[in-house]
């Protein structure tokens, strides 16, 4: 079972620690190491490397790592050892990388695989001090079916989560266009164009599309489970099963095993689980159906006025769990509150929101205006925002004396308008969710109990003995061997759902040796992807058709991209030889000669012909 504890760095506070850490070390060394002669081709990107306080140029560690990689190699200088950083929780990534490292050795490349704790891994990649290659996997969230989450963050020149610091100006132009494109058809074209540039310039390489979403549930007690594409049946992120499943026995209480329960019960300061469970208690404005199509939820409908303005119509007749009616004032208050205080989970959705105003109180119409043309209204803005009860949150900040920091607000018993009410809760042990039968999409069962079981063995054991009905699968999926084990237990059904997952490696095009596109082409040939899919994932996954993380089955996939370069060490050696590389006596790869004009041209240009590089420049 691949258990992925935490998701991307932007939404959690961990990167703040990196920030703080860097600030201390930076503070310790008064700015002299700051720029050390590192310049950026296109001044537009200068701001990224200097703007945010303690990053990159202000981080001596980053500077000391990057400077040697931007100086021209002498004659006969070997390609340095390439550092790969992997969190130790992901034992199967390491198993794959052992094979990759062995193969790369035959090419004269040596990898230094760094295994660090997950927390430390997020710190390192946040500060871009993780070395040469960053390995990352997909964690599907409802808002992530919008391409911006990955297509933008992982490769957009001005986004810090672009760990390879790849700055392709054509790519960035397309990205900036698609974010502002509110017409879905036009936006799809732009997103597909972005994927083509990304694949064409050989930046990120996909190791495999998977692991597959395999789940098991107590089929003797429950019927009518709903398979949501990419999520499966048991994820609190896609909670259709908990709405529509019907009991086969007298028991109308579904018991779900979960790896760990809520870190906090306040949705503002939500950890992973509360972000999902929280949106079963508070109503989202819009939600997705099992085919990932956006459907109305708290907002009955919405109409687009122009490329930065929308009118949202609140669904009439909704009530909060304490019986009070949901009014347009609650919606207006929620946005006022978010814009004024919230800088955490909801900020990524409301970052581009200018203002909201009640357009027609009687019919419950609210108008939202964005600072710039906005393309992510439905899948991102409507899905992430929820309705907070004004009568509870109105002056909660003052009452609890937490100043202007919403994170420290304590909500021991969340009251929302969602399909489930917050029932009995014992920290780290169990959480009861009671069905709200007055909800417009009311659950057919009565209760859902989430039981904390920190070990995978514990989850499987309880499933087999019938103590739990299914395993919450937002970050824990079964492997085929585990599924086989469970298959022969009575009353347990195995469910396989097409997944949208991927695992990819992000090299460092801003540094040598990656700046040379020929090196990247050869590098792409050095991965035995079949080993990952067939052995490590035990066959539960697919060989990637192309170097894109919007995999086949993802609504935004670009079907006609160049295929992934096949695993072929001889071809790789041929490419390297053709590009002027040679091998030292000990078999290690050596840079082309300093006077090799083609090499110098390629390294200067970094991108493939037809694209312009805007990122870091070589020194001297």
């Amino acid at each position: 079972m691949t258990r992925r504890h935490n998701d991307g760095p932007t939404l959690t506070r961990r990167t703040t620690l990196g920030l703080a850490g860097a600030s201390i070390s930076a503070g310790a060394l008064p700015g002299f190491a700051a720029d050390a002669g590192i310049t950026v081709t296109n001044p537009k990107y200068e701001a990224l490397y200097r703007r945010t306080g303690t990053y990159y140029k202000n981080d001596p560690q980053w500077v000391s790592w990057t400077t040697p990689r931007l100086t021209w190699p002498q004659a006969g200088e070997k390609v340095p050892e390439l550092t790969v950083t992997i969190p130790n929780v992901q034992t199967n990534w390491l198993d794959a990388w052992r094979k990759f490292a062995a193969d790369a050795g035959k090419l004269g490349l040596s990898y230094n695989i760094q295994q660090v704790s997950e927390a430390r891994w997020l710190d390192l990649i946040g500060l871009h001090t993780h070395g040469d290659i960053e390995v990352h996997a997909a964690i599907l969230r409802p808002e992530r079916i919008d391409p911006a989450e990955w297509a933008t963050s992982r490769a957009y020149g001005l986004d810090r989560r672009n760990y390879g610091e790849w700055v392709n100006e054509q790519y960035d132009a397309v990205i900036e266009a698609q974010v502002a494109e509110s017409d879905p058809v036009k936006r799809l074209k732009l997103v597909q164009e972005a994927q083509r540039i990304l694949a064409d310039d050989l930046y990120i390489t996909q190791f495999g599309w998977g692991p597959g979403v395999i789940e098991a549930y107590n089929s003797a007690a429950w019927d009518g489970v709903v398979q949501t594409r990419g999520f499966g049946i048991g994820s609190f992120n896609a909670f259709h099963t908990f709405l529509r499943a019907t009991p086969k026995t007298a028991r109308r209480k579904m018991i779900v095993g979960i790896h760990s329960l809520l870190e906090t019960t306040s949705i503002i300061a939500a950890g992973n689980n509360m972000r999902a469970i929280g949106r079963m208690i508070y109503d989202r404005l819009a939600y997705m159906d099992e085919n990932l199509k956006i459907i109305p939820w708290a907002c009955e409908s919405w109409t687009r006025i122009d490329d930065r303005t929308w009118d949202m119509k609140l669904r009439p007749g909704m009530t909060f769990h304490d019986g009070k009616p949901v009014t347009i004032d609650d919606l207006q208050f929620t946005f006022d509150f978010m814009l004024k205080y919230e800088r955490g989970n909801f900020w990524t959705a409301n970052m581009f929101l200018a203002k909201t105003e009640i357009q027609d109180a009687a019919n419950g119409i609210l108008r939202a205006t964005f600072k710039q043309p906005y393309g992510q209204f439905e899948s991102y803005f409507l899905q992430l925002n929820v309705i907070l009860p004004k009568h509870i949150w109105q002056n909660i900040m003052a009452e609890q004396g937490v100043g202007d920091d919403p994170m420290r607000v304590r909500i021991d018993k969340p009251i929302g308008s969602g399909p489930f009410k917050f029932g009995r809760y014992r920290k780290d042990a169990e959480l009861q969710l009671i069905a709200d039968k007055t909800h417009f999409s009311k659950p057919s069962i009565d209760e859902v109990w989430a039981v904390a079981t920190p070990s995978i063995d514990g989850l499987l054991g309880r499933l087999q003995s019938g103590d739990i009905d299914l395993i919450e699968s937002s970050d824990t999926h079964l492997t085929p061997s585990q599924a086989k084990q469970l298959a022969d237990s009575p009353g347990i059904a195995i469910v396989r759902t097409p997944d949208l997952n991927w695992l990819h490696g992000v090299p460092r095009p801003s540094n040598l040796p990656w700046r040379d596109i020929e090196f990247r082409r050869a590098w792409h040939h050095s991965f035995d992807r079949e080993f990952l899919v067939k052995v490590v994932w035990e066959g539960s996954g697919r060989l990637p058709a192309a170097n894109t993380f919007l995999v086949e089955g993802n609504p935004w996939n670009n079907p006609d991209l160049p295929p992934v370069p096949p695993f072929d060490l001889d071809k790789a050696r041929g490419i390297l030889k053709g590009a002027g590389y040679s091998w030292a006596a000990d078999g290690r790869l050596v840079y082309p000669a300093p006077d090799d004009a083609n090499f110098r041209q390629r390294v200067k240009q970094v991108c493939k012909d037809g694209y312009t590089w805007g990122g870091l420049e070589m020194i001297g």
Binding site: L19, L127, S455
Partner: protein, 322 residues
């Protein structure tokens, strides 16, 4: 001040000194982290001036020694600050967790000591008999088996296969609310059996071997002959001998709690027991340093306090040292 109070005071000061050393080590340890544990709590998209404000708030710019002084003062008063992710004070989080951990450790401690003493005394008394051979060998084997391995096997057999016992956790679904009703509920006892069995099977070896060794010494003592000459029944003599054999066990109890507390992490994960060990593991996973720091410190305090109690207890039991 009576001699006993003086001894207690001296030991208390020593305890304070030891705690102070532990705190210094932890301060240095957490200082090495990329993110300083007393670091500011800032969101990554905050503009620069907000970061400066937070740094001021948390005294990050103070000179090192001032931060150290604040740190020691706060920790000594159990003010661990707020958890990064669970918007609760660390103290609140940990009190609940320490109670849960003690709810597993203390019963195991009592059972191991009582049962260990009885078995050890009997094994020592009928020296060389089959009973002694059997007890000592089983104790050896049980002690050597890794507790997480035994724990999983126990769960596998008694819970998943035979369904005799619940599959872990402190209490079944919808169990009683509040710590005290929970502890006194039958449901909790049912949940305690398996972890208790595993803990006792590992920790009972200490008392058995200690009491047996002490018993062998006492068995040859002269006053035993006198007791027998006085016409006392064998059982009465055994009580006399056991009372003498208890002395070395008392100091061992403190070491035992240390062992119990440290091995706790593994069992709490396997038995899904919401204790302080598991809290530390989650905190480390989330890089939630205030909680990790608090958990480590609370564990150290618990161990040292129990050492102190054991020393004072020794004084009470052994008249010679009073």
């Amino acid at each position: 001040m009576t001699r006993l109070a003086q001894a207690a005071l001296r030991r208390f000061l020593l305890l304070a000194l030891t705690l102070w050393c532990i705190l210094t080590i932890m301060f240095a340890l957490f200082k090495l982290l990329p993110g300083d544990p007393t670091s500011i709590f800032v969101d990554n998209n905050m503009p620069m001036e907000m970061i400066e404000h937070q740094k001021q708030l948390w005294g990050l710019n103070d000179p090192m020694w001032l931060q150290y002084a604040h740190y020691i003062a706060n920790m000594a008063l159990f003010r661990f600050g707020d958890s990064f992710f669970q918007n609760q004070t660390v103290f609140e989080i940990l009190t609940g967790k320490v109670a849960n951990t003690c709810a597993m450790i203390l019963p195991a401690l009592v059972v191991s000591v009582v049962l260990g003493t009885v078995l050890g005394a009997l094994a020592g008394w009928n020296r060389g008999g089959r009973f002694e051979q059997a007890t000592v060998t089983t104790a050896l084997v049980l002690h050597s088996a890794p507790s997480f391995f035994v724990g999983i096997l126990a769960l596998m057999v008694f819970s998943y296969q035979l369904h005799w016992l619940p599959p872990g956790g402190m209490v079944s679904l919808g169990g009683p609310e509040g710590f005290w009703p929970l502890i006194t509920s039958r449901d909790y006892l049912l949940h305690l059996i398996l972890p208790l069995l595993v803990l006792v099977s590992r920790e009972i070896t200490g008392p058995i071997l200690l009491v047996r060794g002490a018993m062998l010494e006492i068995k040859g003592a002269d006053f035993i002959d006198i007791l027998r000459a006085k016409g006392l029944p064998e059982s009465r003599i055994l009580v006399h001998a056991t009372r003498n054999a208890l002395l070395p066990l008392v100091t061992y109890i403190a070491v035992m709690t240390g062992l119990l507390l440290q091995g706790q992490v593994l069992l709490e994960i396997i038995f899904a027991w919401p204790g302080i060990g598991r809290e530390l593991v989650t905190a480390l996973g989330d890089l939630d340093y205030p909680v990790a720091q608090g958990a480590l410190y609370v564990m150290a305090v618990v161990i040292l306090l129990l050492n102190l109690v054991a020393d004072l207890l020794y004084g009470l039991i052994d008249p010679r040292s009073r």
